[in-house]
Each structure stands twice: as C-alpha cells, then as structure tokens.
Symmetry: C2
Subunit: 309 residues, 2 copies
C-alpha cells in the first residue's frame, strides 16, 4: 500500500485569487491585462505552502494579506511546455486583503470580478443578459442533446443553476454556472468554441474557473464566518459593511434585518465616532471585535438575503 516508488519529477505553482472591495465593487488582482491570475512558483526553500504564498504576494503587492485559505489543487500537463511535458501541480488560494492599492510591481491590476462574470451581479435585479442571451443559448444546447434523457438532464441543470423560473437564484453556484457554460461551449475557454459572444471577459488557461471557485467559496463563507471584516477598513459604518457584503454576494440585503443580525452576533462595537460623508444622517462608526475570533471559532455572520432594496 505504501509504495515508495520515486514518482516522476513535478513542479508546483501557486495561483492566487486575491480579493479586495473598493467603492462597493469586489476586485480581484490580475496580471497581463486582466487575462491571468497572479501565480508564482512554490519556493521550495523552507517555507510551507501558505507562508510561501504570503511572502510572495506581500513582496509583489506591497501590502499584507489578511485571510488566506486554500482553494483547490489540480494537476495538468505543464502548460508552459518548457520541458517535455512535465507535470505541474497547481495549488490555488483565496486571499483577502484590505485595500486595492496601486498593486506594486509589474502589470498587476485590480478588476471588478463582475467583469468576468457579469451574470453574477444581481444587485440591480436579474441581469437582462440571462433571459436574453444565456438562457436561450443554454436551452438550445440542451435541445441539441442526443437522447431525450440527456436533454431532460441538461434542462434540469440549466433550471437549477440559472434559476429564473421556479427555482430561485442561488448566489453560491458560481462555479456550477461557469462549468455549465463551459460544457455548453459558450465560453471561449472551451476547446472548439471560439467565444460565442457571451458578455464577460475571459482568461487564459483555466484561470477563470479558478476565479469562479474563489468567488463561490467566498460567497459561501461570508454566511457563516465573519470574514467580511478582512476586507473592511479599520472603522466603517454599517451601511458600508452591508455594501461590502452585497458586493460579494451580488445581492441586495434588507437593511434592518442586516443590522439586527450583525448586532445580535456582537460582531462589532462602536468606535464612538460618526461618519458624516454621504448626504444623510451621520452614521455611527464601528470596528470589528477581534475578540469574537477567540470567543467562538464558530461565529457565523449569516447574511439575510432579500429580493430588493
């Protein structure tokens, strides 16, 4: 069972989905004009994977990473083909950071993640493109299935992932939706499908899939772990906090319920100061109670979803 045959040589690379929220937009760090996620070799020196990622990101972007979480590991044939098809193990991470700075070094830049997944942004209601473009094409793809059984299954999947009819929209299924589009040949990344004019920028290799994985993970996580605060400045108003959550979830929340939930969980405390920026009545400023991270490793910053504002 423990076969200690020396396996063929591999190399490992780290791929990062770095997220920030600025001005109510969820941003992701990209390179090469937005066509790639930042990635680097695993510096075998003596660091762990995570430390290696941290060091490398901080060196590149110039500011510290808050929360870091492993996303997924996969192994493909080496894409750079520098060798004779050496295997590369890609280990992807999700990282949250407080501010989208100028992004130090080279050609790195922050982009709204809805640039890559415009259909995921429901903050202004259901995006028209779903009903007008995506759904028809997906149905056409389903209709083109070989057998009736396969056709039914495809339709089912379209219904479940893209909702719209009887099934409600589920903001967590980012990856499933992307994979469905991929399978249906509706994204340029799919082999033999030269970009069928669907809105949304694509990426090279499978980087858009990795981004989808990161978004999905983050959207799921904010519901039961207080990770949003990793993306907030030191002090903030409850509305800013709500806007950040909404940006990530791609959905608007019911303001009063959001507040009820936040303070029923003792997640924040008043700083005593007020913010007097935006038109209306000044809002109290809050800060995250770091304590809760120790008090309960569970926490749970669930977010109350609503249909409209």
């Amino acid at each position: 069972m423990v076969t200690r045959i020396p396996a063929p040589a591999l190399r490992a690379e780290l791929i990062a989905v770095l997220v920030a929220v600025t001005d109510g937009e969820p941003q992701v760090l990209t390179i090469r004009d937005g066509s790639l996620l930042p990635s680097g070799p695993f510096a075998s020196a003596d660091r762990s994977l995570q430390a290696s990622l941290r060091a490398w990101v901080e060196q590149q972007t110039g500011h510290p990473l808050g929360y870091v979480e492993q996303l997924y590991t996969f192994a493909d044939r080496d894409r750079s083909a520098d060798d004779t098809q050496r295997r590369v193990i890609s280990i992807s991470y999700l990282g949250l950071t407080r501010q989208a700075l100028a992004a130090g070094g080279h050609a790195a830049s922050w982009r709204s993640w809805y640039r890559y997944f415009p259909w995921e942004d429901w903050r202004d209601g259901a995006p028209a493109m779903i009903g007008k473009l995506i759904a028809p094409r997906l149905r056409a793809w389903a209709a083109a299935a070989g057998t009736p059984a396969l056709k039914r299954e495809r339709l089912q999947r379209v219904r479940v992932t893209f909702g719209c009819t009887d099934v409600p929209w589920n903001e967590d299924m980012v990856l499933q939706r992307y994979e469905l589009l991929f399978e249906a040949g509706l994204v340029p990344e799919a082999a033999g499908a030269p970009g069928t004019g669907l809105p949304g920028a694509h990426m090279l290799y499978d980087h858009r899939r990795i981004l989808a994985t990161g978004i999905a993970r983050l959207r799921a996580k904010i519901k039961y772990r207080p990770v949003v605060f990793e993306l907030m400045p030191e002090s903030f108003t409850l509305l800013q906090l709500q806007r950040a959550v909404e940006a990530l979830a791609g959905q608007l929340l019911h303001k009063q319920n959001f507040r009820r939930l936040i303070d029923s969980q003792d997640l924040v405390e008043e700083t005593g100061e007020l913010a007097t920026e935006t038109g209306g009545r000044p809002a109290k400023l809050f800060r995250f109670r770091q304590q809760v991270l120790i008090e309960r490793a569970i926490a749970g910053s669930k977010l109350p979803l609503a249909r409209s504002a």
Copy 2:
C-alpha cells in the same frame, strides 16, 4: 509576476481518508496496524489527481469509491528521506464508500475512528475522560503560560473547543481540538512529548491530523449535503440512517425531528418492503432518491441535534 523559473523537483503523494459506516461505527481505512492512512504516489501517467486516487483505491481495496472530495494540500520536507531532502507535496482526500469489506491487498484494515479520537464520541453522553483527564491537563498547560494574556487566551481556547462549561460542545471542531492537544504537548505526535497517557491511538507523521481534518469536513458536510447516503446500503430503514448520521456526528439525534427533516426534504422514497430484523415493529425500507442530486445541487440534509435520545 509570472516567474517561470523551473522550480526544484518535487514529488507528489496522495493520502486518503476512506470512510465507511458498519454496524453504527464510523470506520476509516488504515495500514501498518492502524498507524498510517493509505497513501500512494501520484501516478503521473495521464490521469487527473482525483482519477489517480480513484484508480489506486479501487485497485487496492477492490470496491468503488462513492463520493470523493479534496481535503488539503501541504508540503513538508520529504519524510521518507529517500533523497537529499526532496520536497514532497501531499494531497489529501476524503472518500466515502459503501461497505467496509475485507480491504483487499495487504495489511489494510478498517478501524473505528473513535479509536483515534475517543473524546469525539458523545453518543453515550460526555466522555468521562474529558473532565477527568483532558480538561485538567489543558488547564495545567494554560496555567503554565508565560504571560497572563497568553494564559487567558489559552483558557479561552480550551473553553471554546472542549466546551463543557458555558460553551456547548461543537462536534465540528475536531481539528481544532486535536491541534490544541498537539500544541499542549498532550499527544505523542508532538515533538518532545512522549505520549502523556491520553487515551486515543496515535498515528505516524501527521496522519492523525489529516484524519481529524477528514472527520471535521465530513461532520460539517452532512449538515448541508446529502452525503450520508454514500455510506448507506441500497435500501435502509430510517433508524439505520439516523444511526449512521449519529455515528459520524458523534451525537444522538431526536428521532421524530430527524424523520420530520428527512421527509420534509424529499430525500428518500419507500421501497415498499419492510425490515423485520430487530426486535420491534418492522420498519419501512427506504432508498435514496438519486433525483435530488440533479433537482437541487443545493439539497441540504441538515441534521437536528439533540442532547439525548
């Protein structure tokens, strides 16, 4: 940013946490007299990681893997030290299988996972060892802290992870508990801590930690995904299903509420037959409605926890 420096050679290994439930006991596949999880090299051939794992497990154990999910990837110095400290990337997986068979090949054997984590089994109430052995030692460790602040933080962590006093027991924190014991030097795996007589079998390297990760993941998962069924035979009674969930969660459930939940979710359908084995009134047999996996990728087989039977 995309530095294409050929990284030093590595090797990759797959480590599996294979779980089955037999006779109401959660079992995990081990080798070497229970001291290791099964692991194998990543066959670089042309398979993906997951396919590689599947093939290798099925070849070794002789029966198919149901559900497979990646756990975690980490990189340590090569433990086997076959080379000059070549790095090894360990990719761990959680796999669910239907029956704990004789476990084909070599010295593989199934063991109850509570053999390694006896304090995690609360089906007969709070294990006495927690109050009598674990808690006192952890408190002693906390008391030995350098500064008062550190001491308070340690006590806090003990309270949160092991519950008992005001904080209720949380069955998901398997990993946190193990790591706490590790940090406190109460498990033989910790360097310089030659087994301080705590109950629970240990494993070599970090395999017990990996097992803890797998258990934690599975305990969390059964609450929102219908994965229990991967562990059940074709048809089963509701009580058998409940016992399986209880075995995994390490907690007893309220029978009526469990049933209410199960059928409110349309997870199962009657086969029409009855089971007439155990003493009492014969129970209806059910089977899992495979349909739900397509109907809603969400599903959610939450489990209602209760204090007692």
